[in-house]
């Protein structure tokens, strides 16, 4: 949260319409994402009630559990969901691999993945963060099951569990786009005039951003809070809906004999009611996708999407090689590694966003971690060093209105020339709260002692410099799991799938 974002929210609250919070798009959007909405049965531990999923707005598939307390029906639901989710992921994976091997044969080698590659980017879009939590727990409750043994399940169920766990863990990585919550993606690009608590409601957020004609965003958001006209996007259902609609319908299904015509009618009316409750959210998630597609992607979006793809393909290969499911809890070393990679991703994502988006960078300018202004003096031919060690070290002076909290010796970089580094030589205050910052540049100017054209900022050019860097950071050294220190419990036991995991109760 920066003052800039807070100001955007204040403007939205004042005008009644959402305001712009970024100038480019920071999430990757797949050409055919899988939209997934889920409902749970109140009171139970992550018991699925229904799901709606599909990779086009027209191809919604509805899954409904007629008796959510029944274990067999839950696993039948998981198997059906597996068909959709792992089916979708499998399609993406095989198309990607075909694309990759084709590229290798063509001798394209390394470099940018071909355009066709991007058409198969696997992406699951859910309405809100709570649905990511639901998928994480659904993954936890299914990934350790076995297709054999005392309580066999459909072989697709444990595979679904592993993929859902992979996606949910990946969603914690800042900047990843494999599993995306629509509310979060929207809040990254628009500021609503309501609080973060209220921003968890997708219908309300979209009300602010994209109100129906004739309504202000504020009025549309208020209307979206009525559970009758704007049913919640899950996973929790509206309690009044539970008591007045769902309870009698589920009871009706239970009263009738399996296979009878009455049963069929009861199941149909249950499916109709749930379908009607999910339909508005379905449209809202696709509307969010449409709105986000309307934004120009930032420069580094495809970089992050590439690392998503690499992780996805790697996990697919691991599964095919018979990899074990993710353990219930990470071992000490694995947890430390994971934390370190999350921190690195956070830092690099923050820097990349700022480099891509002047409005994000402006947040850093406000706090003195960056400044922007015009070049007022430049000496592009200046040389440093002596004799054979002479190097091109141009000087530029930037005049800025921003607060300057850097000092001589600090190393900066400009988003306009990310390969060139700048060292602060001096900062001098000028009249009218302005400052002049003199910088010595190195790198990114070609190999000769004369700078390549355009590689040194010219007088009059407007640009920003920041202390943020997206350079490679050496990750911490972690011991092998066999040498986990005693302070962290010593080496963990080797995971052997125990039958107990597979038969864990789900009641």
């Amino acid at each position: 949260m920066s003052t800039l974002y807070a100001l955007a929210k204040a403007r939205a609250a004042d005008s009644g319409f959402a305001t712009q919070a970024s100038t480019v798009r920071h999430v990757h959007l797949a050409e055919r994402p899988l939209v997934l909405i889920a409902l749970t049965f109140a009171g139970e531990a992550n018991a699925p009630l229904a799901a709606m999923a599909g990779d086009t707005p027209e191809s919604a598939r509805l899954l409904v559990v007629t008796q959510p307390r029944n274990r067999d029906e839950r696993f039948a639901f998981a198997a059906e969901l597996a068909e959709i989710v792992t089916g979708y992921l499998g399609e993406c994976e095989s198309a990607l691999r075909a694309e990759l091997s084709g590229a290798d044969e063509g001798g394209a080698g390394h470099g940018e993945p071909p355009g066709a590659f991007w058409q198969k980017f696997p992406q699951v879009i859910v309405p809100n963060e709570a649905t990511i939590g639901f998928l994480r727990l659904l993954g936890r409750s299914t990934r350790l099951r076995r297709p054999d043994g005392p309580y066999p399940v459909d072989p697709a169920v444990p595979v679904l569990g592993r993929w859902l766990t992979f996606l949910a863990e990946r969603a914690e990585l800042p900047g990843s786009s494999l599993l995306v919550a629509a509310t979060q993606a929207l809040a990254l690009h628009w500021a609503t005039g309501q609080s973060a608590v209220e921003d968890r409601n997708l219908a309300a957020v979209l009300g602010w951003i994209d109100p129906p004609a004739g309504l202000t965003g504020r009025a549309a958001a208020a209307a979206a809070e009525n559970p009758v006209t704007g049913p919640p996007a899950g996973p929790a259902t509206d309690p009044t809906f539970d008591n007045e609609v769902l309870a009698p319908l589920i009871a009706a299904c239970g009263r009738t004999e399996i296979g009878s015509a009455q049963r069929q009618r009861a199941v149909l009316s249950l499916q109709d009611s749930i379908g009607a409750v999910l339909a508005p959210s379905w449209r809202l998630v696709w509307r969010s996708v449409e709105l986000l597609r309307g934004l120009t992607p930032g420069r580094t979006v495809s970089l992050r999407a590439e690392s998503d793809l690499a992780a996805f393909l790697k996990y697919g290969e691991y599964l095919r090689d018979g990899g074990t499911p993710q353990p219930r809890r990470d071992s000490a070393v694995a947890a430390a590694r994971r934390l370190s990679s999350l921190e690195q991703a956070q830092a690099s994502y923050a820097a990349q966003r700022a480099f891509d988006d002047p409005l994000v960078l402006a947040g850093y300018r406000l706090t003195g971690e960056a400044f922007g202004g015009s070049v007022v003096a430049a000496d592009p031919a200046r040389l440093g060093g002596s004799g054979k060690r002479r190097m091109l070290r141009p000087l530029v002076t930037v005049e800025t209105l921003d607060v300057v909290r850097v000092g001589p010796g600090d190393k900066l970089v400009s988003p306009a020339r990310p390969r060139q580094s700048a060292v602060v030589m001096s900062v001098s205050p000028l009249a009218g709260a302005r400052s002049a910052v003199e910088l010595e540049l190195s790198g990114g100017m070609g190999r000769s002692l004369v700078a390549a054209p355009g590689s040194v900022p010219a007088v009059g050019e407007r640009l920003c410099y920041t202390t943020l860097t997206d350079s490679y950071q050496v990750s911490g050294a972690f011991p092998e799991r066999e040498s986990t220190p005693w302070t962290h419990g010593g080496p963990p036991p080797v995971y052997v799938p125990v039958p107990d995991d597979a038969v864990e109760a789900w009641s």
């Binding site: 003052t3 800039l4 609250a13 409750s141 209220e198 402006a362």
Partner: protein, 375 residues
């Protein structure tokens, strides 16, 4: 009846006071600075009804599925003389309990009157402490009493007080799942504060019998379903911090007089029911009456207070509706119009706003530069 009580009665109007339970008392600690809530709770106002009648019905409800599951889980834990619970207590309190007796205080010889049950609870609990026997005793549905805002409130906990060697442990049974040792943080927090209410009430009761505070343990036993099953698991939770908050808040409610002093003498939230029970007071007039008591709205109220939609409506145009974090970033200035006025330079800052105004102007300038947005 003293002056404070009669004023509270007048504010409530001609309806029976809404009784407190651990949940409502726990909720008192969530927004201690709100005078509106303090007055309404002290007066025993039915906030749900008031909110609905004023045109801003509360967004709360409980699903019957959740209630069914909660009851089923509790019944399961208590089945067969609390067999499951005893197993957990042995494991988690590390006790060897040779023999345990069980007292159900749900009724006294068929009499379910509150006073009778409370008297019975008191005498049984006191006797258990004084006997000093090694045998453990489980007390189911003890009826406790607590002074809230000068009025006695009966608390009907869904709990068992477990006594061993003269020391009590509060046992709270909840039906949310603990998965791989982790549970939903909000739910645990709510359970902990409710348990703290019981610990406090139990201590009050025993203090009446000259018992020291430590007769009731600081740690409560939380019993929840484990993973995705119905099998119960237990954890010990320290409630000392919540007890401190609770005591401070109850002490504040006891001094409700100072809050009443600034209110008009004829203030009432009476709906003006006629003989058929139809309210005759206009909702607008009722809202005006409610607005005479200051509220301190925060978005967190949306999860805990029945009046939240009305207060949010009233707070429109103020930075607190955007959340505390946003408000702080805006220099803790109250009005959104003032924030924008300072940012656009159309409003001259007061002395204490100079720093905030500088930051806001810089932010507005940067926004204009990056988005081309007009001032």
């Amino acid at each position: 009846m003293n002056a404070v009580e009669s004023r509270l009665e007048h504010i409530r109007g001609r309806v029976a006071p809404k009784s407190h339970n651990a949940r409502t008392i726990a909720a008192l600690t969530s927004n201690p600075g709100c005078a509106r809530r303090a007055i309404m709770d002290a007066a025993g106002v039915d906030k749900q009804r008031l909110a609905a009648y004023s045109g801003f019905p509360a967004p709360f409800g409980q699903s019957q599925f959740a209630i069914t599951r909660g009851n089923a889980f509790e019944a399961q834990v208590k089945a067969n003389g609390c067999a499951e619970l005893l197993r957990l207590l042995r494991e988690h309190l590390g006790l060897s309990i040779p023999e345990v007796s069980y007292d159900d205080l749900n009724d006294v010889g068929g009499n379910t009157g509150l006073v009778v049950r409370h008297v019975r609870t008191r005498s049984l609990l006191a006797r258990a402490v004084n006997s000093g026997s090694d045998a453990g005793t489980l007390f189911d549905h003890p009826l406790l009493r607590l002074q809230v805002a000068g009025r006695p409130v009966f608390l009907e906990p869904d709990l068992i007080a477990f006594q061993l060697g003269g020391r009590f442990h509060v046992v709270e049974i909840k039906s949310f799942a603990v998965i791989d040792g982790q549970a939903d943080g909000d739910k645990v927090a709510a359970a902990v504060i409710q348990s703290a209410v019981y610990v406090h009430a139990l201590r009050e009761l025993l203090a009446g019998h000259g018992m020291a505070e430590d007769a009731v343990a600081d740690e409560v036993v939380l019993v929840c379903p484990e993973n995705f099953s119905n099998a119960p698991t237990a954890a010990l939770l320290d409630v000392r911090k919540q007890l401190t908050v609770l005591r401070r808040q109850l002490a504040r409610l006891a001094s409700i007089e100072s809050l009443l002093d600034v209110l008009p003498a004829d203030l009432t939230f009476d709906l003006g029911m006629d003989d058929d029970g139809v309210p005759s007071r206009s909702p607008a007039e009722l809202r005006d009456a409610i607005f005479t008591v200051d509220a301190r709205y925060a978005p967190e109220c949306l999860a805990s207070c029945e009046m939240c939609f009305l207060c949010r409506h009233e707070a429109q145009g103020r930075t607190e509706t955007l959340g505390r974090e946003v408000r702080d970033e805006l220099g803790a200035i109250d009005s959104i119009a003032a924030v924008l006025g300072l940012a656009d330079g159309t409003l001259a800052p007061a002395d204490d706003q100079a720093e905030a105004a500088g930051l806001l102007r810089a932010a507005a300038r940067l926004r204009r530069e990056c988005t081309g947005e007009a001032a």
